[in-house]
C-alpha cells in the first residue's frame, strides 16, 4: 500500500479520544457508544469454547514455524528413499533436496519457510499470531506482546502490531524495529508510573525513531529495487492496565473492542490514517463512495523517514464489562471490516483462550484468501488473574 503523497492537502483528522466510540480516561459507558451493533458469536465458534481446552504451554517464545502454505511437509518414508541423517533439513517443496546454508533447496531451489512466515506467542494474559498469508512471499508484519507491572504492582499487558509498507524498502525490518522499540518503551515507562496514554504516545515516538534510523543504514546488497523509499510501517498498540484500556496507532492497523457478552456491541477503537477515512472524516464522501475508490487504502500516516510529520493517535477507554481487545493488521480486517463482522469472527471464549482466538482469526483471513500478511493480538480485559487462562 503506497503512502499517498497527493492526499497531503487533506487535513489530517486531529484525534480526540472523544471522537471515538467509548470514552476517555475520565470514564463513561463504552458499550453504550454504538447502539444496536451486537451479534452473537456463531454456535460453531462457541462450541469450541470449553474452558478446559486452554493451551497448556505458556511458552514465551515463538513456536517453530510450520511449513509454508501450499507446501505441506510430508513424511518421506517411501521405499528407495534413504533416510537422511538426523538433523538434515529436507526441502519442504520437493521433499528430496537438502537445504543450503542460504536457505534455498539444493535440488529445486525453493526458498524454505522463514521464522517470520508464521509466528505465535502466548503469555498468561495475551497472545498473538502472525502469518505470511497466501499471496505474499514474506511476512512484513511484526508484533510484540509483553507483560509488566505498574508501580502499585498491578499487572500491565502490552501488545504492539506493525505492518511494513511494501512499496518501501525493507518493510519487514521496519515493522520489527517499530514493534520492538514501542514494546521496550512501554516496558520502561509503565513501571515508572507514566500514565499509560502518555506512555503509549512516547512509545509511538520511540518506534518512529527506530524506523527512521533504518533509513540511515546501508541497505543490504541484495536489495536493488527500483524504488528506494525509506523503510516504513504502521503501528497499533494496546495497553491493558489499572482498569484502563489504552490504544495508540499510526496508519491503518486497527484495534477492536469485543465484549465477552455479545449482546453488547463490538466497537472499532481506531480511525485509519487512510485516504478513505480522511475523505469520510472531511465529509467529502460517504463511506461507500470512499472505500470504492482505488485510493481508499492508501495510507496517509506511517512511521518512517518519509513521513511528513508524525501524528501519534492515542485513546483511553474504561470498559465497564469484560471482553477482549483485538489488535490487528489489515490482513485480518480486510476480511472482517465492520465491527459486527469482527464480532462474528472472534470466538466466544476469546478472553479465556487468547492464543486459540488469535489462531482462529488468522484462519479467518486465510480462509478469505489470505491476500496480505495477517497479524492479530488478543488481549483480555480486565487482565486475567495469573494462571486463570489455563485453569
Amino acid at each position: 500500500m503506497a503512502p499517498e503523497v497527493d492526499s497531503s492537502h487533506v487535513p489530517a483528522p486531529t484525534h480526540r479520544s472523544a471522537d471515538l466510540p467509548g470514552t476517555d480516561s475520565a470514564g463513561g459507558d463504552l458499550a453504550g457508544a454504538v447502539p444496536g451493533a451486537s451479534e452473537h458469536a456463531s454456535p460453531g465458534r462457541a462450541g469450541q469454547a470449553a474452558p478446559g481446552e486452554a493451551p497448556a504451554e505458556p511458552d514465551d517464545y515463538p513456536l517453530p514455524a510450520p511449513a509454508a502454505p501450499g507446501a505441506p511437509p510430508a513424511e518421506r518414508t517411501e521405499a528407495g528413499t534413504p533416510t537422511p541423517p538426523a538433523g538434515t533439513k529436507l526441502c519442504v517443496a520437493c521433499r528430496s533436496g537438502h537445504v543450503a546454508p542460504d536457505g534455498y533447496c539444493e535440488n529445486c531451489g525453493h526458498a524454505q519457510p522463514r521464522e517470520r512466515d508464521h509466528m505465535e506467542q502466548e503469555l498468561d494474559t495475551v497472545a498473538a499470531v502472525s502469518d505470511r498469508g497466501l499471496r505474499h512471499h514474506r511476512n512484513e508484519d511484526a508484533f510484540t506482546i509483553s507483560s509488566t507491572a505498574l508501580p502499585d504492582g498491578s499487572p500491565a499487558v502490552v501488545a504492539i502490531v506493525c505492518d511494513g509498507v511494501s512499496s518501501a524498502t525493507r518493510p519487514d525490518e521496519a515493522s520489527m524495529a517499530a514493534s520492538r522499540a514501542a514494546d521496550l518503551a512501554l516496558k520502561d515507562s509503565l513501571p515508572r508510573g507514566t500514565h499509560p496514554q502518555q506512555a503509549m504516545h512516547e512509545a509511538i515516538v520511540a518506534a518512529s525513531e527506530a524506523v527512521n534510523a533504518l533509513a540511515e543504514e546501508p541497505h543490504g546488497a541484495r536489495e536493488h529495487q527500483p524504488h528506494q523509499n525509506a523503510p516504513a510501517c504502521t503501528l497499533v498498540g494496546a495497553v491493558v492496565a489499572g482498569g484502563l484500556l489504552v490504544i495508540g496507532w499510526v496508519g491503518d492497523s486497527r484495534a477492536y473492542w469485543v465484549p465477552a457478552d455479545r449482546t453488547a456491541p463490538t466497537v472499532r477503537l481506531t480511525e485509519d490514517d487512510s485516504w478513505a477515512a480522511q475523505m469520510v472524516a472531511a465529509g467529502l464522501m460517504n463511506e461507500a463512495e470512499a472505500y470504492a475508490d482505488e485510493r481508499a487504502h492508501a495510507i496517509t500516516g506511517w512511521l518512517g523517514a518519509d513521513a511528513y510529520e508524525l501524528e501519534p493517535h492515542t485513546a483511553s477507554f474504561k470498559p465497564d464489562r469484560p471482553g477482549v481487545v483485538v489488535v490487528c493488521t489489515d490482513g485480518l480486517w480486510n476480511y472482517a471490516e465492520a465491527a459486527e463482522e469482527m464480532a462474528r469472527a472472534v470466538p466466544a471464549d476469546a478472553a479465556l483462550r487468547p492464543l486459540h482466538s488469535a489462531r482462529v482469526l488468522v484462519g479467518h483471513a486465510l480462509d478469505g484468501g489470505g491476500h496480505d500478511n495477517v497479524t492479530v493480538a488478543v488481549l483480555p480485559f480486565p487482565v486475567a488473574p495469573r494462571g486463570a487462562g489455563s485453569a
Partner: protein, 447 residues
C-alpha cells in the same frame, strides 16, 4: 616501495541486478551480474605503480607477440615499419621478469626472438636484444594464422606461469590455411592462453580477427593507420601486465527444472557464452572468462524457471566466480543469487530492471550493426537501412556515443530518436570495418 603482503589474487565481488518479481505464471528470469575484481597484487598503496609485484613473488606471466610478416605487409612499406615500431614499443612495456617471445608469421611461424623454442626473461638486456632482432622482420610469404597460434602455445607452455597471453597482428586474410584449420588451432589454444588480435590496414577480414579474440578471450580492434600501432601495442601490453589471475570461470548453478536460455558477457563488450559451457558437477556449468586484472565486467543471465504459486520464492541461479586451485579443486571467489518471487502486485512484476533493459538494448545494438552491415554488403539496402537505423536509435537512446559516432560515418542520421537514417553513398572502408569490429562494444548504464 610499497609492501605487498597479500597474495596476488584479486578480490572478486558479484552484484546481481534484477527484478525478481514474476507475475502469476511468469517463468523467464533475467539478471545482470556485475563482476568486479580489485586489489590483488596492487593492494598496499602502489599508486602510480599499479602492478608491481613483490620481489619474492616475481612476475608470473608470459607473453608472445605474433607479427604478420606476409608479403602484403610491404604495401605500403609503412605497414611493416609500423609493425616493427609497435612490437618494439610492446617489448618496452614488458615488465622485468616476465617471459616473452616474438614470432614472425607468414604461411609458417618463425621464432624471431629469442629462438630455440624458448622464452626470454625480460630485462634491459633481453629487451634490447629483442628490439635488435626485430630488424630481421621482413615481409614475404603468405598467411596461416593457425600456425602462429600453435607456435605461441608451445612457447608459452614452456614457462611455469599463471598468466599466458598473446598479442597478434595481421594485415590480411588467412589465405594459406582453411577456415577449419584455423578453427582447430583456436580450439586447441582456447583455455591455454588468452590473446588480443589486431587488424592493421583494411585488407583483413573482420570476422577472422574478432573470431580469434573471441575464442581466446581477448580484445579485437582495428588499427587502420599503421602509425597508430605503437600506442595500441603499448596499451595492450600494459593491460596484459595488469592481469593477476587466469582461468577464471563464471559458474552457474541452477536448480532442477531450470533451463538456461543464455549467458553472455555484456560489458565491456558483448560476448556470447551460452555454448561455451563445460559441466561442473550436478546442475552446474562453467563459462570461461579468461584472465582478470583490476576490472569490472557485466554478464546477462537469462533462465526459465518452472511455474510456481503466488507468494512462492525460489532461487533461479547461483552465479559465482571460480578459479582452479593447485589441488585440482576450484576456489570460489565470490557469489551472487538470482531469485524468482511470484507476486500478484502488478506494479512489482511488470517493471523491468534498468540494467537488464539497458543491456538487452546494447546486445540488440551489436546485432543490428552486424546484420545491417551484412545486408549492405549483400546489396540489401532496405534491410541495411532498417537495421542501421535501429542501431542509431539504440546507440542514441543508451548514450553509446562512440558507437553512434562510428554509425554516423556509415549512415546519414536524419533523426536519431526515431532511427531514421539514409545509407551513405560512399563509405570509407576503414570506417565500415571499424564499425564492424567495434560493434560489440557496450556502455554501462547511465547513472
Amino acid at each position: 616501495m610499497a609492501i605487498f603482503s597479500k597474495s596476488n589474487v584479486p578480490q572478486f565481488t558479484v552484484d546481481v541486478y534484477q527484478n525478481e518479481y514474476l507475475p502469476e505464471g511468469g517463468r523467464e528470469v533475467n539478471a545482470i551480474a556485475t563482476v568486479t575484481s580489485t586489489g590483488g597484487g596492487t593492494v598496499g598503496s602502489a599508486v602510480g605503480a599499479p602492478h608491481l609485484y613483490s620481489a619474492a613473488q616475481g612476475p608470473d606471466a608470459a607473453v608472445a607477440i605474433m607479427v604478420d610478416c606476409s608479403g602484403s605487409m610491404d604495401y605500403p612499406p609503412t605497414k611493416m615499419r609500423g609493425a616493427r615500431d609497435a612490437t618494439a614499443a610492446a617489448v618496452d612495456a614488458v615488465r622485468d621478469g616476465v617471459h616473452f617471445a616474438v614470432i614472425g608469421g607468414t604461411h609458417i611461424a618463425k621464432e624471431i626472438y629469442p629462438g630455440g623454442g624458448r622464452l626470454a626473461v625480460a630485462s634491459p638486456q633481453t629487451r634490447a636484444q629483442a628490439k635488435e632482432a626485430l630488424r630481421k622482420l621482413s615481409a614475404g610469404g603468405g598467411t596461416a594464422i593457425g600456425t602462429w597460434l600453435r607456435l605461441a602455445d608451445r612457447l608459452l607452455a614452456s614457462a611455469d606461469v599463471a598468466i599466458r597471453h598473446g598479442i597478434l597482428l595481421t594485415d590480411g586474410r588467412n589465405e594459406h590455411e582453411s577456415p577449419e584449420d584455423l578453427r582447430a588451432s583456436l580450439d586447441a589454444c582456447a583455455g591455454r592462453f588468452t590473446c588480443d588480435a589486431r587488424g592493421v590496414g583494411t585488407d583483413w577480414e573482420v570476422k577472422e580477427v574478432t573470431g580469434i579474440a573471441s575464442a581466446l578471450l581477448g580484445s579485437a580492434d582495428i588499427v587502420a593507420d599503421p602509425a597508430g600501432l605503437a600506442a595500441d601495442f603499448t596499451q595492450m601490453m600494459e593491460a596484459a601486465m595488469g592481469k593477476e589471475v587466469a582461468d577464471v570461470s563464471l559458474r552457474l548453478w541452477t536448480p532442477m527444472g531450470v533451463e538456461i536460455m543464455y549467458v553472455k558477457q555484456v560489458a565491456p563488450t558483448v560476448e556470447e557464452l551460452t555454448d561455451r559451457r563445460t559441466e561442473a558437477g550436478p546442475r552446474a556449468g562453467d563459462y570461461p572468462t579468461g584472465s582478470w586484472g583490476d576490472e569490472s565486467r557485466d554478464y546477462h543471465v537469462c533462465v526459465r524457471v518452472p511455474g510456481a504459486e503466488l507468494g512462492q520464492e525460489m532461487l533461479a541461479a547461483r552465479v559465482s566466480l571460480v578459479v582452479p586451485a593447485a589441488d585440482g579443486t576450484v576456489q570460489t571467489l565470490s557469489q551472487g543469487l538470482v531469485r524468482a518471487v511470484w507476486t500478484d502486485d502488478m506494479a512489482s512484476s511488470t517493471c523491468i530492471n534498468p540494467q537488464v533493459a539497458h543491456y538487452t538494448g546494447q546486445a540488440e545494438l551489436a546485432q543490428a550493426i552486424q546484420q545491417g552491415l551484412d545486408a549492405r554488403k549483400s546489396g540489401d539496402f532496405d534491410g541495411a537501412t532498417a537495421k542501421l537505423g535501429r542501431a542509431v536509435q539504440l546507440a542514441s537512446a543508451s548514450g553509446n556515443e562512440d558507437t553512434a559516432k562510428l554509425l554516423s560515418k556509415v549512415v546519414d542520421v536524419v533523426d536519431a530518436a526515431t532511427g531514421t537514417v539514409r545509407l551513405k553513398a560512399r563509405v570509407a572502408e576503414a570506417d565500415e570495418m571499424t564499425l564492424e569490429t567495434r560493434s560489440t562494444k557496450t556502455v554501462r548504464v547511465k547513472k
